[in-house]
């Protein structure tokens, strides 16, 4: 698993849920100026930072690192971008100071800064995520972003907002998805709160090497209780 400036809760969640099933995990942190090794990793986590760091990251991603991410994504690799990482996976990102930073271009979307009269979008979020078989499942998280993300024509959202703001607080969409690449504003942390989604990333990643692989179920009572107590409160508004 490769961790680019990612959220620690997400890293731990994948690590433990693999470990508890006897799947060994190695985590590699990729820092500024270091290259991604596309063939050596199965899951790529991509976090983000404050405006100043976003500029450094955008610069860092403008070369081979960005190109690697694009090819990993287009070949069906498992990538999760959260918040600042998600924003940089679009075509471009504009900072609060008006600086236009180029994105990796995995998703057809861009992010604009909030207007002076607009507030940051902050709070618990509940999202309905459509699955391949036509059913839906929910993910829960916390968002805190000033930027407004607008999806382009060809972009598919990760899900629809049940409660919260999502991409821009206006069109009811949250995040983006393309094959096995996901982008979202939800942290808080995302994966520990939503074990089914964590398992989906793990299973997809392992199935790329072994298509008969299935994950053994775990006892998720602690996680489910935590999810329900917050989701219930969020639904009640």
């Amino acid at each position: 698993m490769m961790n680019l400036y990612g959220d620690r809760g997400n890293v731990i969640s994948i690590q433990k849920r693999c470990e508890w099933r006897g799947v060994s995990v190695e985590v590699t942190d990729v820092r500024l100026g270091e290259s991604i090794r596309p063939t050596e990793c199965d899951i790529f986590l991509f976090g983000g930072g404050q405006d100043r760091e976003q500029a450094l990251l955008a610069d860092d991603l403008s070369g081979s690192k960005g190109a690697d991410l694009r090819s990993i994504s287009s070949e069906g690799g498992v990538v999760l971008g959260v918040c600042g990482g998600y924003q940089l996976m679009g075509s471009h990102y504009e900072t609060a100071d008006g600086e236009k930073l180029p994105g990796v271009g995995v998703f057809d979307l861009h992010t604009e800064p909030r207007k002076p009269e607009e507030a940051r979008l902050i709070g618990n979020v509940l999202v309905r995520v459509p699955l391949e078989d036509g059913s839906h499942r929910e993910i829960l998280g916390f968002e805190n972003h000033g930027g407004r993300t607008r999806l382009g024509e060809g972009a598919e959202p990760l899900g629809r907002i049940v409660s919260g703001f999502g991409n821009n607080g206006e069109d009811g969409t949250e995040g983006a998805r393309k094959m096995n690449t996901y982008g979202t504003y939800l942290h808080g942390s995302l994966l520990p709160k939503n074990p089914w989604f964590t398992d989906r990333l793990i299973e997809t990643a392992i199935r790329r090497a072994d298509d008969t692989f299935t994950l053994e179920p775990l006892d998720d009572e602690t996680e489910n209780t935590a999810f329900e107590s917050v989701a219930g409160r969020v639904r009640r508004g």
Binding site: D7, I122, N144, P192, A226, S229, V230
Partner: protein, 469 residues
């Protein structure tokens, strides 16, 4: 406007504030610490400026993510020891209204403060407003950690906000800065006069940056800083390998730090007017920093080194931050949790390691505005280090609105999860019951959970409501 009229307006403002204070006490609304400020400011918007200018010794403000209350209380205590009378906003009312309320309460109806000086703890985002209105001789910035990101957005921005107030200090005003916190130290580049303090003790080196490192890149050029020693979070001895930014030389230094668990810490204090050994009777490195900052502020206000030592050594603790409450034949030890760095420090001091002795632990996590609504910071707390230490004797009891998230966090650190009791009242009662006679229950609550737990303890007859303090 003429002066008589201005003074009359001030008197009416103080009178109105007094009535508001009495009313709120009588009605037990609990807003007694800010309401008089709101009321008096409405009557006389210049009330803070007028009163602060009448303080013979001037006013000082203390800000930062961690330790504001403790440090301000320490300075007040030192000043009292040195026979100077200081007013402060001691109940955690740290916005401009709370600061105003404190000064109003200290003044007679003619608008004359009874105290010689004022010591304010000020919320980071409120610094510009307070500095613009109150005449501050000193402004101390203790540290800037990722604490309530959902309130302020970004740390670097917060630094900018604080630095924007430097121009409002009077010509003889100084800024006191923590040299060991890179972001805080970098603010000195925008100050007319900056005084730096820092800890110099390589034995405190954690050997690596804790996971919560907030500001590990150079605040000037963005390059990763190189650390010679990391004390906690991003605080330590650092240097930028790329630009001219480096840890400023500290004129006030703490060295030879020796921890003695819950009993406190001893250290050697070096100042421009001499050196001394002293004991801080509050636990952990955090409080060593608070004592150091308090020493700087007190000495810059004219207190002699012996009085600083005497004051710090006789200081017992600030409300709610670290508090021991006798509960029958047991004891409850309350340690406020504000952010991952503070949480790590508490775990390191009380739970892990030799001589720590915390067996019975209750953690209570709320997500109200005052606690921070985003609980993702729980993942930045190093519970893994605790699991590795093997020092957890009994499973923790978990409580609070986000008890579920806390339980998940413990599970993923391979720590045993004890009872999960979201209701704070039930949790503290049950945890106290499970604590054997003669032993101590360690209670680790976020802010609003702490208020709730204190209220329950008070209802059980173990303490008094805080506003009566």
């Amino acid at each position: 406007m003429n002066k008589t009229l201005e003074n009359a307006r001030l008197s009416v403002a103080i009178l109105a504030a007094r009535s508001a204070m009495l009313a709120s006490r009588a009605l037990r609304t609990g807003g007694g610490s800010t309401m008089p400020g709101v009321v008096s400011r409405r009557v006389d918007p210049k009330v803070l400026t007028k009163l602060s200018k009448r303080l013979p010794g001037g006013a000082a403000a203390i800000t930062g993510t961690n330790g504001k209350t403790t440090t301000a209380r320490m300075v007040s205590h030192i000043l009292r020891t040195a026979n100077m009378k200081a007013v402060n906003n001691s109940t955690g009312a740290n916005l401009v209204t709370g600061v105003t309320a404190a000064l109003v309460a200290d003044s007679d109806f003619s608008g004359k403060p009874r105290s010689d000086t004022a010591l304010f703890e000020v919320d980071e985002a409120s610094v510009p407003k307070v500095a613009a209105e109150a005449e501050l001789k000193l402004l101390a910035v203790l540290n800037l950690f990722r604490d309530q990101l959902d309130r302020y957005g970004e740390l670097a921005y917060l630094g900018k906000i604080i630095a924007s107030s430097f121009d409002d200090l009077p010509p003889d005003g100084s800024v006191v800065l923590n040299a060991d916190d890179p972001l805080v130290a970098s603010l000195g580049r925008q100050a007319r006069k900056a005084i730096y303090f820092g800890v110099e003790d390589h034995s405190l080196d954690m050997g690596r940056l804790q996971h919560v490192a907030d500001s590990k890149s150079c605040p000037v050029c963005g390059t990763d800083l190189v650390y010679e020693a990391v004390y906690l979070g991003h605080v330590g001895l650092y240097d930028c390998p790329n630009c001219d930014f480096t840890r400023p030389e500290a004129t006030y230094r703490a060295t030879d730090i020796r921890f003695d668990g819950a009993k406190g810490t001893s250290l050697r204090l070096s100042t421009p007017s001499g050196e001394t050994e002293m004991k801080v009777r509050l636990p952990g490195l955090y409080n060593a920093y608070n004592a150091l900052a308090a020493a700087v502020v007190a000495m810059e206000m004219g207190v002699a080194l012996e009085d600083v030592k005497g004051g710090i050594e006789s200081f017992g603790g600030a409300f709610g931050r670290v508090e021991r409450i006798q509960a029958g034949d047991k004891e409850a030890f309350l340690l406020l949790i504000k952010n991952p760095v503070g949480f790590n420090e508490i775990l390191r001091t009380f739970v892990a390691g030799e001589g720590s002795g915390a067996s019975h632990v209750l953690i209570a996590i709320n997500d109200n505005d005052a606690d921070g609504r985003d609980v993702s910071w729980l993942w930045d707390v190093d519970f893994e280090m605790l699991a590795d230490s093997g020092d957890v004797r009994e499973p923790f009891t978990v409580s609070g609105i986000r008890a579920g998230d806390m339980a998940v966090r413990l599970k993923y650190a391979d720590l045993p999860v004890g009872s999960v009791i979201p209701d704070r009242e039930k949790a503290i009662k049950s945890a106290l019951e499970a604590t054997p006679s003669g032993e101590t229950l360690y209670v680790l609550p976020t802010y609003t959970a702490m208020l709730e737990i204190r209220r329950t303890l008070s209802d059980l007859g173990h303490t008094h409501p805080f506003w009566e303090e």
